[in-house]
């Protein structure tokens, strides 16, 4: 093995918080060889991003490197003066951040930002730098780069912007790229392309990559070597194949076990046969009017723009089963969910619950309120931070007047908390005292408190770490058996859907392109979109 490009020894990053010292990175040591792709994986709080920031010298106060060495090409760089570090950044070490939407300055053209970076590090004239910038953009897969170079960031889509960001990181031919969750904000199909671009560009330049991600699948498909981190420490290091197939450490084993795969076939409980499905969705349609002001209408005639977010979607869900609705962002899956629970009024079509239209006034809506509940994606936003947990869970009981007696309500809340595996004493606490997974359990308890039959789960686990995700999914399954619940599970994560759903629908641009039993869809997809989607998903089973 050649001399390492980057060598980290006993790196420790501490945050001096008011309740004591928080050690974000704790004695981490590893090397990166030239041209190597090193994957760093771990759950949130593992310290992986902090390690990346430490290398490029971007740790914000109150954090600081308290111990250890960062050797770049043999020279220590952890305590360089700002100006010297600036010359190193971009020139020797490039960085790519997670969110391409916020990584670029919105007020400058991408050309300006590229030329500025190139001329900062390379002795080039404005024209030369501009030519180089166009070439870079072309390599990164931006179509007609010579024209697009004078566009502003907001004129590009998310995936295109991330290509621009990668070009920027590579603009001065650095030897190391630190990519911090470069694809986590992107859709699966775009994610695959970006990974490919990153890998190709770095290989062609011989640049090493430190790929930081929470998604083991991405690493499995991309990296040579990988590091698993937990709570600031390195748990396991090794080749990707070794670590994924033969994890040595207990933590790694649990982590890998928790990752659902689109190839897993989980044995599901038997769905009781029924005459008619509990939920029937019939040609559900939703149009959004891009409203124009009166003056615009006067100036521009009467045409106003309509966007059809959901287009005649029909499916049905038998009682006690789970229906998975998958699609990328903007496919209309959340709009569908919101129409089904009564948050958005459909433009056309019907949602029938036990044969009643949930949007019909009177019995229908009344029934809906009682029997339909929803679990949201963000467990931070779905619980009112000013309410105590007990009140949050009791809200449906009070709103629907299911019980009025204080003691009775309290009993029910305590019971619900136990059922979601939380201490009944939690009812006197506030949401901020709980972790994300615990909060999602509270949200589930609230959804259950009106004893509904049908629960719409909108990306219930996408904000959670994999291990927590596995617990929450397990809980949902148990509760389904216990109460005979019917779920609509909305997710962009195909693996989760495969694991949970009995039937699946694939939404693309508001149209249901495929609909059927889960195994049929995953094993033998008919629609080309579904196939593309399944191919694009990075999966640990694909490890070489």
């Amino acid at each position: 093995m050649a001399a390492p490009l980057l060598s980290i020894r006993d790196l420790t990053v501490e945050f001096h918080l008011r309740r004591g010292i928080f050690t974000a990175v704790d004695g981490v040591s590893f090397d990166i060889a030239p041209g190597e792709i090193l994957g760093v994986v771990g759950e949130s709080g593992a310290g992986k991003s902090m390690t990346g920031s430490a290398i490029i010298g971007l740790i914000d106060r109150p954090g600081r490197i308290s111990r250890g060495e960062i050797l770049f090409q043999g020279k220590p760089i952890q305590n360089l003066p700002v100006e010297e570090m600036n010359r190193l950044r971009g020139k020797k070490i490039g960085m790519v951040f997670q969110d391409p939407l916020t990584s670029l300055n919105p007020l400058y053209t991408i050309g300006h930002q590229l030329v500025e970076t190139i001329r900062r590090h390379l002795p080039m004239t404005q024209e030369q730098a501009r030519e180089r910038a166009i070439a870079l953009l072309g390599e990164a897969g931006i179509p007609s780069p010579a024209e697009r170079i004078d566009s502003y960031p907001h004129q590009f889509s998310g995936g295109m912007r991330q290509r621009v960001v990668i070009s920027l990181a590579l603009a001065a031919e650095p030897d190391l790229i630190i990519a911090d969750e470069p694809t986590s904000a992107l859709d699966v199909s775009v994610q695959a392309q970006i990974i490919k671009v990153l890998k190709r560009l770095c290989e062609s330049r011989g640049a090493a990559v430190m790929l930081i991600t929470h998604d083991m699948g991405v690493i499995a498909e991309t990296a040579n070597r990988m590091i698993v981190m937990n709570r600031g420490k390195i748990v396991e290091t090794g080749s990707v194949g070794d670590v994924i197939k033969r994890p040595r450490e207990d933590y790694t084993q649990r982590l890998i076990k928790a990752i659902p795969s689109i190839r897993d076939e989980t044995i599901r409980h038997a769905v009781p046969a029924a005459d008619r499905p509990l939920v029937e969705v019939d040609k559900l349609t939703c149009d959004f009017m891009l409203s124009k002001s009166t003056l615009d209408r006067l100036l521009g005639g009467a045409r106003s723009k309509t966007i059809r977010a959901v287009n005649e979607v029909s499916f049905s869900i038998p009682k006690g089963s789970t229906y998975g609705l998958v699609g990328e962002s903007g496919s209309g899956k959340s709009t569908c969910a919101r129409m089904m629970v009564g948050l958005i009024r459909p433009t056309g079509g019907r949602v029938l619950l036990d044969g009643d239209d949930v949007w019909a006034p009177g019995a229908g809506s009344q029934k809906r309120r009682r029997r339909v509940q929803m679990i949201f994606q963000d467990p931070y936003a779905s619980l009112n931070p000013r309410w105590m947990v007990g009140d949050i869970i009791a809200e449906p009981i009070r709103a629907l007047k299911l019980a009025s007696n204080r003691a009775e309500i309290e009993d029910r809340v305590a019971d619900l908390l136990e059922r979601v595996r939380l201490d009944p004493a939690s009812m006197k606490k506030f949401p901020h005292e709980f972790s994300g997974g615990q909060r999602q359990r509270i949200a589930i308890a609230r959804a259950l408190s009106s004893q509904p039959e049908f629960i719409v789960c909108d990306e219930p686990t996408s904000a959670l770490d994999v291990s927590v995700q596995a617990q929450v999914l397990e809980l949902m399954r148990k509760l389904q058996d216990e109460y005979g619940l019917t779920y609509l599970l909305i997710s962009h994560n195909l693996a989760v859907v495969r694991q949970m759903a009995d039937n699946v629908g694939v939404l693309h641009g508001g149209v249901l392109v495929e609909n059927g039993p889960v195994d049929q869809i995953f094993d033998d997809p008919q629609a080309s979109y579904t196939r593309m989607l399944l191919d694009a998903v990075p999966d640990i089973s694909r490890v070489n």
């Binding site: 971007l58 670029l104 919105p106 007020l107 590090h121």
Partner: protein, 327 residues
């Protein structure tokens, strides 16, 4: 762009109409205009005659329409107190106020932005704490006290600067300026400082807050990661992005300097529209009050328009969307 400006213009007209309605209501409700026009010697038939002449017996909406019609032509009648056409009065006072407002706006802008940037870039420095504390004192001091204090120190005790008025002015035909004579410039110093202090602190705190916000943004982090120099990041990226939201509020703040000048003009006997307004309020000279109100609204509307257009120029997200229509 055209549609954008047209829409803004239409909104401006609505704003003006709204303010005009308030101004008109003053005529109607602040005492009986006839009683305030005719003295004790008047007879009842005089009242009736004057009511008729002034059209006060017409339906209210007709009177309002007439008020608007006259206002559009710049006619607000004749001041009860000074018996001079209000428009002429306001125009003769305008140069003083505009020069004062302009001078203090300049002070507020230069020092406000400068100190704001400085304190944002050195968030933990001692000098920053001192500037920030001083700015709070600036906000807590009533303008009239600042004025009195400055007069006492610089005019009475030190006899360095004049305590009142505009000094010598030069008549340029339609504009009288105090900027071309030494005494005029000397007279401008104290009132301009007094008037600017409040806006200065506001702008400074605003720039600081916005800049700190911008410095936290991902694109600044990314710019650092690209190895750009501190200078380029601070002044090329952060400052420009700071200015976008600052433009709106600063623009409006500077616009309000004109109306805010009321107190400063009173304390320094500055012969501008603000002191004209205060004198008019004391004797309920409604035509002047109404005209002043509309004038301030007009300034607001015009500045708003300029700010919107500036915003358009500075922020490509608005500009390009309108031209190319997105992705």
């Amino acid at each position: 762009m055209l549609a954008f400006i047209l829409r803004r213009l239409l909104q401006s007209v609505v704003v003006m109409l709204f303010v005009a309605l308030i101004a008109f209501s003053m005529f109607r409700f602040v005492g009986d205009p006839v009683a305030s026009m005719l003295g004790q010697e008047s007879r009842l038939e005089d009242h009736e005659l004057l009511r008729e002449q002034l059209g006060l017996n017409d339906p209210v909406f007709l009177q309002f329409a007439r008020f608007i019609g006259n206002a559009v032509q710049g006619q607000f009648g004749i001041s009860y107190r000074l018996q001079t056409p209000v428009t002429e009065l306001i125009f003769s006072r305008l140069p003083a106020t505009i020069e004062l407002a302009f001078a203090s706006a300049l002070i507020a802008l230069v020092f406000g932005v400068g100190l704001g940037v400085y304190t944002a870039l050195r968030p933990r420095a001692w000098s920053t704490s001192i500037i920030m504390s001083a700015s709070l004192i600036g906000v807590s001091l009533p303008t009239f006290l600042i004025g009195i204090g400055l007069i006492y120190i610089f005019a009475v005790e030190l006899k360095m600067l004049p305590s009142f008025g505009r000094g010598e002015t030069v008549n340029l035909g339609w504009w009288t300026t105090g900027l071309l004579t030494t005494s005029g410039l000397r007279s401008l110093i104290l009132p301009a400082i007094t008037l600017s202090l409040f806006q200065l602190t506001l702008i400074m705190r605003l720039v600081r807050a916005e800049m700190l916000e911008v410095l936290r943004q991902d694109y600044i982090r990314f710019a650092r990661a690209r190895g750009l120099s501190q200078r380029t990041i601070n002044f090329g990226h952060a400052l420009k992005n700071t200015l976008v939201p600052v433009i709106t509020i600063t623009g409006l703040q500077l616009g309000s300097v004109i109306a805010f000048a009321i107190i400063t003009e009173t304390v320094f006997q500055w012969p501008g529209v603000g002191s004209l307004f205060v004198n008019s309020v004391q004797v309920v000279d409604v035509p002047v009050m109404a005209a002043y109100l509309l004038f301030v609204a007009l300034v607001f509307v015009v500045i708003n328009l300029i700010v919107d257009i500036l915003y358009y120029v500075v922020d490509p997200r608005l500009r390009v969307d309108a031209r190319a229509g997105g992705k």
